[in-house]
Amino acid sequence: MLALIPPAFIGWMVRDGRRAPAPAAAAAAQPRPSGAEADKTLLALFEGDLGGAKVKDKVGLYDEKGLFDYIDGAAPIFIERHYRKLAAAEMASAGGDDMVCDVYDMAEPANAEAIFNAEKSATAKPVADFPDAISGPMSFVFRSGRYYVKLTAFDKKAEAALPGLAKALKGKMK
């Protein structure tokens, strides 16, 4: 019997129910993009100038179920904060050094702020001239609008390239 619940009805609830809290006025003034539009915008962040960095292979998109296959048991803290989708790619700096770029679309700025605060390492340092960003050895993390971004390096040369990539990404998020 329960299986007869129309999938369209569930789909309607999902589309509307999973959204994060947002001021009513803002919600009315700025209609939310559809999932496909949001995906397109998310993927577009990886195109064009990225501070000299390049995507090595392809950009992976992970929905809620797929997130476990990328970050395993770290997924729930994103899902609980109304995560929408992750775009992740292995990248090479201008010098050819490997980096990983994870851009989480958290659907709303408040959700991005929540996960930024939740994951902030006690010993990570704020970044001068880059609000809402922290860096630790081999890591650069920031939030901008609805996005939460984690950049990871594997050696010192790649680590030095992380701020440039971060600035380029943030510029595209305006």
């Binding site: 329960l2 299986a3 619940i5 999938p7 009805f9 569930i10 789909g11 609830m13 999902v14 509307d16 129910g17 999973r18 959204r19 994060a20 809290p21 947002a22 001021p23 009513a24 919600a27 929905d63 809620e64 179920k65 476990f68 296959d69 990328y70 970050i71 395993d72 048991g73 770290a74 997924a75 729930p76 803290i77 899902i79 609980e80 109304h82 292995e90 990983v100 605060n117 939740a118 994951e119 902030k120 390492s121 006690a122 010993t123 990570a124 630790g136 050895p137 081999m138 890591s139 993390v141 984690k150 990871t152 594997f154 050696d155």
Partner: protein, 351 residues
Amino acid sequence: MSSNGPPGPYDQVPEARVSKSSHTTATAPSDAAGVDRRAALRVGVTAAMAVGSVALGFGLRERSGSKKTRDLPTLKDHRAEKPAGANDMAIVRGPDPAANVRRAVEALGGMGRFVKRGERVVIKPNIGWNRTPEQAANTNPDVVAEVVRLVVAAGASKVWLTDASVNTPEQCFARSGIEKAAKAAGATVIRPDASAFREVNVSGKLLHTGDVLFPFVEADRVINVPIVKQHGLSLASMALKNWYGVLGGQRVKLHQNIHLSIIDLAAMVKPTLTILDATRILTANGPTGGSLADVKQMDTIAAGSDEVALDAFGATLLGLNPNDVGFIVEGMKAGLGTPQWHNLKTVELGG
């Protein structure tokens, strides 16, 4: 440490959020959408959970029924008998990870206690992540290589080394440094491609069958070599949790009741020996990590056959009370060991 409060020991992923599809996601806090929509959402989520539960139950029955689980292989009991007077557990501290492994195994009676000449052995590190050794998301490669050397020296006829990586296996096996180190030490490294899995009986409370990396089906002995790290959902990932890496397929289903899933898999494998790597531990943002700000150098190895005891010890390194870690409590209830590692015959060396 992460500033978000850790989940309680039995907190689970809300089934509606992860188990079916994105169609049953969040019960959003009060928002501009209004009461009617929230009420509809609650009804919808409840209904969808019910649908999902029915579907899940049907799926499990069908899976076990259609495959005639009695015809599927069941993993051997890989445990070795404990010689009279032997130590149960060894904890070694020192700056050289390989030396720590050697001293720990020696304190337990040597690798010959666990591996006999001619036996086939599979070694299971954590190679889940596209991370370097310094980032402490995978087992330290020097630790793994030393385990391989000891097993080879004990006369094993075959030494497999494998893990079902979470990130792309090629990246994980290379970036971790484990593939290169293990091959140099004499192991046959099995990457988890589709042909590497065999369906077996899990016969657990939650997991009935599963696709397992073939060395675990064929091996006479199994050696677990996990790293100690914080884990966002289960609080910690150490010995018992490391068995997630024997399974193929989507991982989301394993997180519906993470503690019992962990125990189902641990009860299935019954390893011969566990060598817990706490050379570097990941103290926050696990299991993935990435920032060295979350890594702590501990220069410690613990070894033994009681995974619950080893995990209880490992939990203390993360600042956790073992009694707060659900899978440790469940492991004890399931008879897999004791969290009272102080009460075992334990030797501590170095440091």
